[in-house]
């Protein structure tokens, strides 16, 4: 197709990748292009002992005075998280746990589904608490995954927690992030 410079100020007939490298730089891009459009952070507000699949209750969007968020944000129902739009999403999960007395293993999983039915483990954190304090000894684990969310109705995530000792407490706090998850949209699918 021939390249045509129209009188309206537009150009037609230019193929994708048709401009030489370096022709367009950051200063030339329209405002907003290449910027992060979604960042949303949630946290567990109340501690609990024992295992959960999924982590479903006592969750809040971080609401400290200085907290920030970009975009629409996630929605959660019965522990199943729905993305606000398709795209490449990074999901991060931090989990803080503690126990007084015995040592224990603590495991957290980030699970995803591509059909809103079958769940698979995308990432795992596995920590071991070796008692070093006379009261509570803490540990924090982290895991993350980058997901290609091609459909917001079928591609979802959830979080699962298990412990070798039911006395281990998963630490939740309504004033600061202790056990929390962050969802960041990195780009389009």
């Amino acid at each position: 197709m021939a390249i045509v410079i129209n009188g309206s100020g537009t150009v037609t007939g230019l193929s994708v990748g048709g401009l030489p490298d370096g022709t367009v730089d950051a200063d030339t891009l329209a405002s907003g292009v290449g910027e992060i459009t979604e960042v949303d952070t949630w946290r567990l507000t109340t501690s609990f002992t024992g295992d959960v699949t999924p982590l479903a209750l006592n969750l809040e969007r971080v609401d400290n005075t200085t907290s920030g968020r970009i975009g629409t944000g996630m929605s959660v129902s019965s522990g199943v998280w729905t993305f606000p739009s398709t795209g490449i999403w990074q999901v991060e999960f931090w989990m803080t746990s503690y126990i007084s007395g015995d040592s224990a293993e603590v495991i957290g999983w980030l699970q995803s589904t591509h059909n809103n039915s079958t769940w698979g483990e995308d990432a795992i954190m596995d920590s071991f608490i070796q008692q070093t304090a006379s009261t509570n000894t803490f540990t924090t684990g982290y895991c993350s995954s980058v997901l290609d969310v091609t459909s917001t109705s079928t591609h979802k995530v959830r979080f699962k927690i298990a412990k070798s000792n039911t006395s281990v407490t998963t630490y939740g706090d309504t004033n600061q992030n202790a056990t929390y998850m962050r969802f960041t949209k990195l780009g389009e699918t």
């Binding site: 501690s47 609990f48 002992t49 982590l55 006592n58 309504t174």
Partner: protein
């Protein structure tokens, strides 16, 4: 360590059986499961009991911290070799300084 309402509730059941609408006060306590909601008095007494149990072990925690500063194996070995009582003396001194209530 100061025990809270949440600390007491954690001792009753496992899982996410309770939560709070806002700050962690009894007035904001909500029960997510079919477990009975403890009364405010039960919670007050429960927190007090946890705190009393913890406080009653203060002497033991202090003793433990002091014991850990000693090189006890070496002290016992030296006592056997030299017919001295440095290890027993040190332990006795710690016990005397931090008596059991």
């Amino acid at each position: 360590m100061t025990y809270t309402l949440q600390d007491y509730l954690l001792t009753l059941h496992t899982g996410q059986w309770f939560g709070f609408n806002g700050e962690h006060t009894y007035a904001n306590l909500v029960i997510h499961s079919e477990d009975a909601k403890p009364t405010e008095q039960e919670c007050t007494d429960g927190v007090a009991s946890l705190q009393a149990e913890y406080d009653s072990q203060a002497y033991a925690r202090t003793r433990k911290a002091k014991y850990d500063l000693l090189n006890q194996d070496e002290m016992r070995y030296d006592d056997v070799k030299n017919s001295t009582t440095t290890w027993v003396d040190a332990i006795d001194a710690i016990k005397a300084a931090h008596p059991k209530p």
